[in-house]
């Protein structure tokens, strides 16, 4: 087992996903089979290999500090599930 049910439950919290008991069991099994498959990567000696984060070799991609048009408040809130007085409204935080 690469990942225990308890770890899967911890991951659901990190990922903010509410899963049923059945789903947790199913994901535990599936993630294990994928992670066991991924275990083959450990065979490779990569001590002297640098990681690749980007497929292209670019750097210093910058823009000038110039103000561009913003959205109107109405446009900004147009997709809001709940809005009030120009704010996005959310339920109790803590």
């Amino acid at each position: 087992m690469k990942i225990s049910k308890k770890e899967v439950e911890h991951v659901t919290l990190l990922a903010r996903l509410e899963l049923t008991e059945e789903e947790v069991n199913q994901y535990t099994e599936q993630l294990n089979s994928i992670l066991e498959y991924a275990e083959m990567l450990q065979k490779l000696d990569t001590d002297k290999v640098s990681p690749t984060a980007h497929a292209v070799q670019l750097f210093n991609v910058l823009r000038t500090d110039e103000v561009k048009n913003s959205l109107s408040q109405q446009e900004a809130l147009s997709n809001a599930p709940e809005a009030e007085d120009g704010y996005f409204r959310v339920p109790r935080i803590v």
């Binding site: 509410e18 990567l41 990681p51 997709n79 109790r92």
Partner: protein, 488 residues
Amino acid sequence: MKVINSSLDELHRLLIHKETTSIELTKIFLDHIKKKDSDIKAFISITEDVALQQAVATDKKLAANEEIGILEGIPLALKDNMCTKGIGTTCGSRILKDFVPPYDATVTELLRESGAVLAGKLNMDEFAMGSTTENSGFFTTSNPWDLTRVPGGSSGGSAASVSAREVPYSLGSDTGGSIRQPAAFCGVVGLKPTYGLVSRYGLVAFASSLDQIGPLTKTVRDNAIVLNAIAGHDPKDSTSVPFNKPDYTHFLENNVKGLRIGVPREFFGQGLDPAVEKVIAQAIKMYENMGAVIEECSLPHMEYAMPTYYIIAPAECSSNLARYDGVSYGFRAEADDMIEMYKKTRAEGFGQEVKRRIMLGTYALSSGYYDAYYLKAQKVRTLIKEDFDNVFSRFDALISPTTPTVAYKMGEKSDPLAMYMGDVYTIPVNLAGLPAISIPAGFVEGMPVGMQLISKHFNEGLLYRAAYAFEQSTDHHKAIPALAGEVD
């Protein structure tokens, strides 16, 4: 020749010679969509009003004898993960079911500026995760060649719509094969451009370091025409590469003499359907006959591409999809507090495959596992890139099957790992950021087989040349699914 089967050149000619109008053309395609899409189910939304509006504008220009561009007045459809201002963009997910972007993706903007006629938005696996469209949050698209089979994915709607002649061309996105695999399954031409050639701005992200937009078309020439319109540097995408864009149609010559084509043995191993292998072997033979230099080669780290991809892509996706939380857009589940709202919104809004990848990616990045999984995968990614660098010092292009099998039946691949294996030949290309094209190479039991050509960064021109030469010497691209031809 029927309008719906016409090439872009032909459609353009019909317009400028006033043999038809853009309205007429647009209506033909919209009618065809209406008739066929109850079976194909390629479209999530049909944007008839927007289409007709653009058509009217084009017709006005034509009436005033103004010059029009090659794509002007001609319909297309977009995979529903490309943002369209004022037009719903769902990404195939219930979590974005009612989301209407207040902005255009760069590709959308480019096509609008070209006067292209947007006919609708296309079905896909939710957030582009999947190989069949069975993971769509709404419905499954059918393969026009056999309605009981999958069209491939995740750009299944993009491939099926072109294959069924519902639109002359479409755009898809490719993170691990999502353009090429459905193109192969549906018998159309699909290009995954070099990472950085086409702007990702406005493409709903799946795995940012792998995603790339590309065209799906009936022919290689059409493909080059569409790429001309969407390629180019975009200051809104930091990973977009400043690059002197050539006219890709200039590469279309029916000549591969002296072209050095490598046949990587790792792409012909276990799991490859012998019937598919035979079709590709014939294609290789054909290249040889046309004067290309064919030689076997090796990419020793290819077997690691799948596990590498299935760490990197989920890791990036777990972060990219964190924003779907019900706070400022998209679906929100009723809840008394934030934590509950997050958890319920995401549990109800996302489908199984998306949740699975979020879980996997979250785990791979989590404290204590980062080095073993994510960092390791990034290092192996370097080895895979180096493999390609090595062979491209000797070869102009590589040839392989696009997929190990032809399109399979719906519901056949229920085990996630088994489904992932279908992308074994396409995934390495994304990891290395290379361009690759899938073109129709023949049939197995009536289902299309796709052949993949891969080349160096920004060598799309060479891919088009090689693909065009093959296409001109074969008739596979002329085959039309019976279903598509039943009307008109």
